[in-house]
Amino acid sequence: MIRIEPRPQPSRLMSYLSPLIAVALTLVTGIIFSGLVGMNPLDAFHAFFIAPIDDLYGLGELGVKAAPLMLIAVGLAIGFRSNVWNIGAEGQLTAGAIVGGGLALLFYQVDGVWVLPLMVLGGAVGGMAWASIPALLKTRFNTNEILVSLMLNYVAIFLLSYLVHDPWRDPDGFNFPESRLFSDAAMLPVVLEDTRLHLGSVFALIAVVLGWVFVRKSFVGFQMQVAGLADSAALYAGFRRRRMVWIGLLVGGAMAGIAGLCEVAGPIGQLLPSVSPGYGYAAIIVAFVGRLHPVGILLASLLMSLLYLGGESAQMELGLPSAITGVFQGVLLFYLLAADMFINFRLHVVTPTVGAASGKAAS
């Protein structure tokens, strides 16, 4: 009989290594899979992980996809650290895109340097407004923020869909469900020649730095961590739980909103019925692979971005279905959670006879 039992002393080193182990296992699984379906594993590996980034443009694309993941994951991690489970980043991203993009459409004939900052602000406000709904319901009625924020994702996506199908549809767009193209003043400038890497990637790096300061240096960040680790201790010290729920959700909402705005004012350039390939969900994985630490999130978002690119490249070069990206994301999260479980627990083979039952401590 095999029993799972807690380890006396979870290893600190392993908690940093477990994302790497998860990545390695994901690679092995991918290679085995491609072998099983009759492909040359090396070709598959090359198509997935090398081909997408073997030129400058590819590296730029890596940044284009990593930027929203980084932004969102840094924001989510702040909430996650205090056990505020915001699963609604996809909806907050969409709300940010609606408000920020709406401003771009409102001022499409205006050519001012203030348009873009206003849109970024609008994106943040939109995301925060959307995140304030679960925050309000949780602090007032003690609802579960996981359910509320998750279900609001669908509401936001349908709201955007309605807007681009009717009121905000491009009058010269042959009835396609798309808004006007944003004016140049409403577009994020490209920061690297010959790529699509836009200003949003700079925002993402700033977010990483600010996130690090918040987590490591600020008193509010400390309070939120205490609340996440020991609720009674937070109560004992008089830290206000409600405030932390608000901060956790609003910061996450603001970051997701900015990410949404950066998508529509960056690579997309207009409002479409769908503005995100699931960045809001993937960022949850990114936050955990990055150990809820801003620097870890920086690395994890690059990895996740590569998975997106690899999935696209595999579709084109190997004719694989688009679901391949989701499969890899799922496999990665699965291995991460499994590796994390073995940090805190170990398998223990129990035999009914006396004596065999004393596992030596791992240290």
Partner: protein, 525 residues
């Protein structure tokens, strides 16, 4: 060996028992013999290895080395059920009873063989009468006092007709009167031939009750003694390696202004098995220590969370608690700390400290008022200085300010928390069980510190279940029973007997009130 045990075969013998944990040697080469009919004390401070040893006997823990002999035959006890089959019963310090079930149902859960509930109830009645442990099998456990719950645990063991009964710190939850009754029961059991292993760190009790004592320190046996031939101080020397420290306690000088005022505090408990607070009045002045005595579960928890601000009162009841003259009932813990209150809670890990965080970070938890935060950012230098001072001044033994709170022993963590709360220079300090689980030396240091604080003009409120402690440090004592407070009395004008009686709910000015169920056990029957 004693006269009465000479020549007999020991009922239980331990030879060279050793148990090593990754960070600590819990037992090293421990030898122990318990004879039939003997009450054998195992004496030692917290962390001396007593509990580990008992768990080895009871089959909860497997030793790394050594032999266990039961009536001369070597046995391997790997599960409590096997220990029970041999005839070992154990009454744990913390009970494992279901509050919503009756006494009989609770006992039935622990019976290994098939049973009939009616017949079991009858046997419970018989056994409890025979040993002077009155108990109604049909009562629901939540309506029982702590003393009565302990009785359920004892009766549960006695039903198995044990030949060795292990009692782990049994008196820490009892009034002095209830302790006397327990001792009668234990003596009676011993006369019938049952061996008793009695775990305690209370020297007087052991001298009164036990025939033999094995003294442990740091996982090793340091002495075997006949406690009836020893004095409390000679036993203390064996236990801690030096004289039992005593606090210097002068009579309180002129009382200062009222720092903490509780007037007409009423509150229903959220917990269906909790205690409602009824009409609590109390004032604590600067320069005095007021002690609240009582058996646990009589409203201490409810009173403490109301005073600390962890569960603030409604706004309209705000005047029921005043800190330094300011209405504070509706304020949360942080706002009350701003008024000059600090609080040492009973639970250290998870409440008084965040287990995985370093001591430095745990300093910040409540100590952040002393200029540790500027512009919302943490000034790490200041935090570290404070934490280092705390470790130095309060002799906290650990791996430095970066050590995680959970890596400290209970006593050292308590010293850290007490130190952190004292160094903030409060006006009012509330301490719940300040020396619970702390070794004797450290306990004396903490008590001395509380007295120093009083001398410097602070108002100190101590809630404790240890009467000796309260009499050692308090200027005035009050008893909480069934959610009510007794009259306040000067410590010098009363004695343990009287306070013990009050703890059972019988106090003056309370004649017409019904005695609460929750405290019904300690009165003489």
């Amino acid at each position: 060996m004693n006269e009465e045990t000479k020549g007999l075969q020991p009922r239980l013998e331990l030879r060279g028992i050793t148990k090593i944990y990754p960070t600590v040697v819990a037992n090293e080469d421990v030898n122990l013999k318990v004879y039939p009919g003997e009450i054998h004390a195992v004496l030692g401070e917290n962390g001396a290895g007593k509990s580990t040893l008992m768990k080895i006997i009871y089959g909860v823990i497997k030793p790394d080395r050594g032999q266990v002999l039961w009536e001369g035959r070597e046995v391997q006890v790997t599960r409590p059920a096997e220990a029970r089959r041999l005839g070992v019963g154990m009454v744990f310090q913390h009970f494992s009873l279901f509050e919503t079930l009756t006494v009989a149902q609770n006992i039935a859960l622990g019976v290994d063989e098939p049973f009939d509930l009616d017949r079991l109830s009858k046997r419970i009645g018989e056994v409890s009468r025979r040993y002077g442990l009155p108990l109604d099998p049909q009562r629901l456990v939540h309506s029982l006092s702590v003393g009565e719950r302990q009785r359920v645990e004892i009766v549960r063991c006695l039903l198995q007709e044990p030949r060795l009964l292990i009692m782990d710190e049994p008196t820490s939850v009892l009034t002095p009167q209830a302790v006397k009754k327990l001792f009668e029961t234990l003596r009676r059991l011993a006369e019938e031939g049952c061996s008793i292993l009695y775990i305690s760190h209370k020297l007087e009790e052991i001298r009164e009750l036990c025939h033999n004592a094995t003294v442990m320190r740091g996982g090793r046996v340091t002495a075997d003694a006949d406690p009836r031939q020893e004095t409390a101080s000679s036993l203390a020397r064996m236990m801690i390696g030096r004289e039992l420290p005593v606090c210097e306690h002068s009579v309180s000088t002129a009382a200062g202004p009222v720092r903490l005022l509780i007037s007409g505090l009423n509150r229903k408990s959220d917990d269906p098995f909790g205690t409602d607070l009824k009409d609590i009045h109390l004032e604590v002045r600067g320069g005095e220590i007021v002690g609240i005595a009582g058996i646990s579960g009589n409203g201490q928890q409810e009173l403490l969370v109301a005073l600390s601000g962890e569960k603030p009162l409604d706004k309209r009841d705000s005047a029921a608690i005043k800190i330094d003259g300011v209405e504070a009932g509706h304020l949360n813990a942080a706002a009350r700390r701003d008024l000059g209150l600090t609080f040492v809670p009973e639970e250290r890990l998870g409440r008084g400290a965040v287990p995985p965080m370093s001591l430095s970070e745990n300093t910040l938890l409540t100590g952040h008022r002393g200029g540790m935060v500027r512009f919302g950012l943490i000034k790490e230098r200041k935090v570290r200085d404070f934490a280092e001072q705390c470790l130095r001044d309060f002799d906290v033994r650990c791996g430095g300010v970066q050590a995680a709170a959970k890596s400290l022993s209970g006593g050292n963590l308590q010293k850290f928390i007490v130190g952190r709360e004292i160094l903030q220079k409060p006006k009012v300090l509330i301490a719940a069980q300040p020396t619970w689980g702390v070794d004797v030396g450290a306990a004396a240091a903490i008590r001395q510190e509380l007295i120093e604080l009083r001398n410097s003009g602070l108002a100190v409120l101590v809630v404790s279940e240890e009467l000796e402690e309260l009499f050692e440090i308090c200027d005035r004592i009050v008893v909480i029973a069934g959610g009510r407070l007794s009259p306040v009395t000067a410590a010098a004008d009363t004695n343990m007997e009287e306070i013990g009686l009050w703890m059972s709910g019988l106090f003056p000015g309370d004649g017409e009130r019904e005695r609460s169920d929750a405290v019904a056990d300690a009165s003489s029957r």
